[in-house]
């Protein structure tokens, strides 16, 4: 059973606009929008607006996506803090907040709806950010040649007190082997 068309005014569509509508619907659903009616309504609205913006040489699909981008930017600007300059950063930030805040699942129907954005939704989106590492404070860590001498003030150096014990161990090893052999050999004579 068909529901009543929600599009007003009803528009004639050729194949290109049909493909554009399909693409917009897919795109919205790719944002995890699970509410079919909402997707339909938004798609219809976007196509309707895009059709008013027809210009020579512009593909319906490109026009529709342009319209959708503009709509998303406008909605994100309502809910996210200012300061994200430019078009792409706000779109990016908004999309991240949308998915991290699970907005379509928590507030179905609100995305790009034109309704007043609930304060809770807005707060959630502002908080929803995978975050960035703390501010970078560069420290010099230039590679140094291994052959460089031990740094000044080092508490340990290549000292005789450390070198001799090992020389002593080596000579001791040789001595014990010699003594052992000599004892075994001499004992029988």
């Amino acid at each position: 059973m068909k529901a009543a068309p929600v599009l007003s005014p009803v528009v004639k569509a050729d194949a290109a606009w049909s493909a554009a509508a399909d693409r917009i619907a897919r795109y919205l659903r790719a944002h995890r929008l699970g509410n079919a009616r909402q997707v339909s309504r938004l798609t219809a609205d976007i196509i309707a607006i895009a059709r008013t913006r027809v210009r020579p040489g512009a593909e319906p699909m490109a026009l529709a996506m342009e319209t959708l981008d503009a709509g998303m930017v406008a909605w994100f600007a309502q809910v996210l803090p200012a300061g994200e300059a430019g078009h792409a950063p706000l779109l990016t930030r908004g999309r991240v907040a949308l998915v991290m805040g699970e907005v379509p699942a928590r507030w179905p129907g609100h995305f790009m709806s034109g309704q007043t954005v609930p304060a809770e939704l807005s707060g959630f989106m502002r908080e929803a950010d995978p975050g960035r590492a703390p501010e970078i404070k560069f420290t010099n860590m230039a590679p140094r040649l291994i052959a460089e001498a031990a740094p000044p003030g080092s508490r340990l150096r290549w000292q005789w007190s450390y070198r001799w014990p090992f020389l002593r161990i080596v000579s001791g090893l040789m001595m014990v082997v010699s003594l052992w052999g000599a004892a075994m050999s001499a004992g029988g004579r």
Partner: protein, 737 residues
């Protein structure tokens, strides 16, 4: 080895408490005594064996072959003796209640339980790893710290060097999901390096340069590391207590093995490890080593002294320092900072290769890195023990070609013996007072060798005698002994194979054949494969058969003596395959054979890890096998947004670059990812502007103008479903079902 350095200090209140070990007060004379004592013990065990071997040769007359045989034997037996004596020293110390000179004894654990004074970074460098496993590990560690109420004192950094786009994008998606799940956007960070200069050491150095000044310490983990919150806090507390300590290495226990090979390793390391590590600490003390992960590092001196240069010349001996950990520990020590092994910190884990071939491949990297250290043994200013670490690291791999040379020399001597027709002289020996016969001396030598080989096993069992709960955790005495028997048999078969692998790797390295870095295969991916096993071990099998025939022809007794080694060669393919399969490993686990305490009573962190891995949904599994990451990062709006949000925005891009990127984008969408070389794909993935544009252009381009891969990627996105928009054929109007 007493507690001379244990002193008392007054604590608050009226009580006096046994006070803690202070590493700064460690007397050089005492350290020296321990080391000389260890060396003399090694000597006292080695010398009789060398004399016996020398005497055996003396009976039939010396020649060049026998002299070479004796020299090789001396080196090999010395290494064997050193290992066994470390176990003996460790056993004695543990029987006495533990070494008084250990870093954990520097903290009064009962009194010192407050919050840490500074924040610590937990860093995990990764490179093309399974993102799901990495995040599951991070999650387990994070939740452990959270459960202990210590989370505010730590920040987590996942430092990616992945250059496989699909792995990289999967990491970003998994990380974002984990941040979302844990609510950790202010504490769990991800950073992908644009250029992988100097691999893992460079990855850590990059972290230090950018964020090192924010933290006093960093806990370095590996991709498969798991540490409990308690272990991490313990390491940080030991650092706080000892301002002269630059690095503390915790001993990671091997866990999560499923194949027989992996379970053998974790069983052996778990059973024999405690006595060995206690013995190692006895002589290393404040000049211990760094194993590259599961360690805490004081960042300021690390930045100042441990930035690694490239060694002069090309690989394999020049260029990038491959085994950076030993060098970093040596540099830290050279600068006067102590390096300790925390043998008794519990809750430090890692995983191990699942099969012999993967194990050998990992060894090839380590081997080249260790041989490279030959240039650093004589580097100026290094501490003598650091030089010894380098030398022992080299010897641990050179022991394989030496052992092969020993076997070849043994065979050659036997053959020459047969050719001359000589028989052993009954008394012509410099040990003629004892009047041992040739055979008696040979058996004695064999007994001494076997005694040293089995000594750590016996000591480990004796060590367990006073710990019934631990014995039960190993499955009880009968299963424990069955495990030791199985482990002994299988390691007897593995050892000659590793000898051949190492020898081949040493030769390749000396022929200046460098090795690349290969990500360790884990879980089911790490199972052995028949074709790989046969292809890898065919040469070893053939060698074993030829050698066996030769030994039999020379003297059947020689063949009998060499049979344990030659059996390893001949049976290499089936043994390697069978021990690298999961099913037999799990069957043994069900039978509680090779059981470890971590398997019988896993810590909450290990349980959490297993649960996460069992229930995780791997988003990337549904991606196309080829270029899946790139396709998703462009097509999926959510993944694209997460990816772009992590990229630096280019400021004032050069027009030439703009043109190049524009051309690449056009080709990518029109002709598909196959039209671009990997370097260009990576360049696009690293460019935030290009990734945003690609996403927009893809969705705005009619399907007919897109490459088939993109059409498939768009089709992969959720399609219009029930209730969605469609144009009906008859009225061509936008309608809603």
């Amino acid at each position: 080895m007493g507690g001379r350095n244990v002193r008392r200090r007054p604590l608050s209140g009226t009580s006096m408490q046994l006070l803690n070990f202070d590493p700064q007060q460690l007397e050089p004379g005492r350290v020296r005594t321990r080391r000389i004592f260890t060396a003399i013990m090694v000597l006292l065990v080695t010398a009789p064996a060398v004399v016996l071997m020398a005497d055996l040769h003396l009976r039939t007359g010396y020649d060049g072959w026998k002299l070479a045989h004796l020299i090789v034997f001396t080196v090999l037996f010395g290494l064997l003796a050193m290992g066994a004596l470390q176990a003996l020293l460790g056993f004695i110390l543990r029987r006495q209640g533990g070494d008084s000179c250990r870093i954990a004894a520097s903290v009064d654990w009962a009194a010192d339980d407050g919050p840490l004074a500074v924040r610590t970074a937990v860093v995990m460098p990764i490179c093309n790893e399974d993102a799901g496993r990495v995040m599951a590990g991070v999650k387990a560690i994070y939740e452990s710290l959270e459960a202990d109420g210590r989370l505010p004192e730590f920040d987590f950094f996942i430092l990616s060097d992945s250059n496989d786009p699909t792995r990289w994008i999967a990491e970003e998606v998994a990380w974002a999901a984990l941040v979302q799940e844990l609510g950790a956007s202010d504490r769990l960070f991800y950073r992908k390096r644009r250029v992988n200069t100097n691999k893992k050491a460079g990855n850590i150095a990059d972290f230090c340069r950018r964020w090192g000044s924010h933290y006093r310490y960093m806990v370095v983990l590996d991709a498969d590391s798991i540490m409990t919150g308690g272990a991490i806090v313990a390491l940080a507390r030991m650092m706080e207590r000892n301002p002269g300590v630059g690095l503390i290495q915790a001993v990671p226990r091997l866990v999560n093995g499923e194949t027989i090979f992996a379970r053998l390793q974790q069983f052996a390391s778990r059973l024999y490890g405690p006595v060995f590590t206690a013995g190692i600490n006895y002589w290393q003390l404040s000049e211990a080593n760094y194993w590259g992960h599961n360690a805490i590092i004081r960042i300021a001196p690390f930045i100042k002294h441990c930035s690694l240069p490239e060694l002069p010349g090309d690989g394999p001996f020049g260029g990038r320092i491959m085994s950076h950990d030993y060098v970093e520990a040596a540099l830290m020590r050279r600068a006067g900072w102590q390096v300790w092994l925390a043998a008794d910190v519990q809750g430090s884990f890692e995983e191990c290769p699942s099969n012999l071939i993967d194990f050998a491949q990992r060894d090839r990297r380590w081997l080249q890195g260790n041989l490279q250290h030959a240039r650093l043994v004589v580097a100026p200013g290094m501490h003598a023990v650091s030089r010894l670490h380098f030398a022992l690291g080299i010897l641990s791999y050179l022991a394989s070609p030496l052992w092969l040379a020993f076997l070849a020399l043994s065979t050659a001597i036997a053959w020459r013996f047969k050719a001359t027709g000589l028989t052993p002289l009954p008394v012509d020996s410099f040990a003629d007072t004892v009047e041992w016969r040739f055979g008696t001396e040979a058996v004695l030598l064999l007994g001494l060798t076997l005694g040293l080989l089995f000594l750590p096993k016996i000591l480990a069992l004796l060590d367990l005698r006073s710990q019934p709960a631990e014995v039960a955790a190993f499955g009880g005495w009968s299963r424990l002994l069955a495990g030791i028997f199985l482990e002994t048999v299988l390691f007897t078969l593995f050892a000659p194979l590793l000898m051949l692998f190492h020898t081949k790797f040493v030769v390749l390295t000396l022929c200046r054949r460098s090795v690349g870095w290969k990500t360790q295969r884990r879980g089911r991916d790490g199972q052995s494969d028949w074709r790989e096993s046969v292809a890898t071990h065919a040469g070893q099998t053939a060698l074993g058969l030829v050698w066996l025939a030769l030994a039999w022809w020379i003297n059947p007794t020689l063949a009998l003596w060499m049979s344990p080694i030659l059996a390893g060669f001949v049976l290499s393919a089936p043994v390697s395959y069978f021990t690298g399969r999961i099913a037999p490993g799990l069957a043994l686990k069900r039978a509680k054979v090779l059981l470890t305490p971590e398997e019988s009573a896993p810590t909450p962190e290990l349980i959490r890890l297993e649960l996460t891995l069992a229930t995780r949904a791997d988003a990337s599994a549904a991606w196309p096998a080829v270029d899946g990451g790139l396709l998703q990062a462009v097509a999926d709006p959510c993944i694209n947004a997460i990816h772009v949000s992590q990229l630096r925005t280019r400021e004032n891009p050069a027009p030439a670059n703009e043109l190049r990127f524009a051309e690449l984008r056009t080709r990518l969408l029109r002709d598909g990812p196959v039209a671009l070389v990997p370097r260009d794909k990576l360049a696009l993935l690293l460019d935030s502007d290009s990734m945003s544009r690609l996403h927009r252009d893809l969705w705005a381009t009619p399907s007919a103008d897109l490459a088939s891969e993109w059409r498939a990627a768009l089709d992969h996105q959720p399609a219009a479903g029930n209730g969605d928009v469609e144009f009906t054929d008859n009225d061509a109007m936008l309608a809603v079902k």
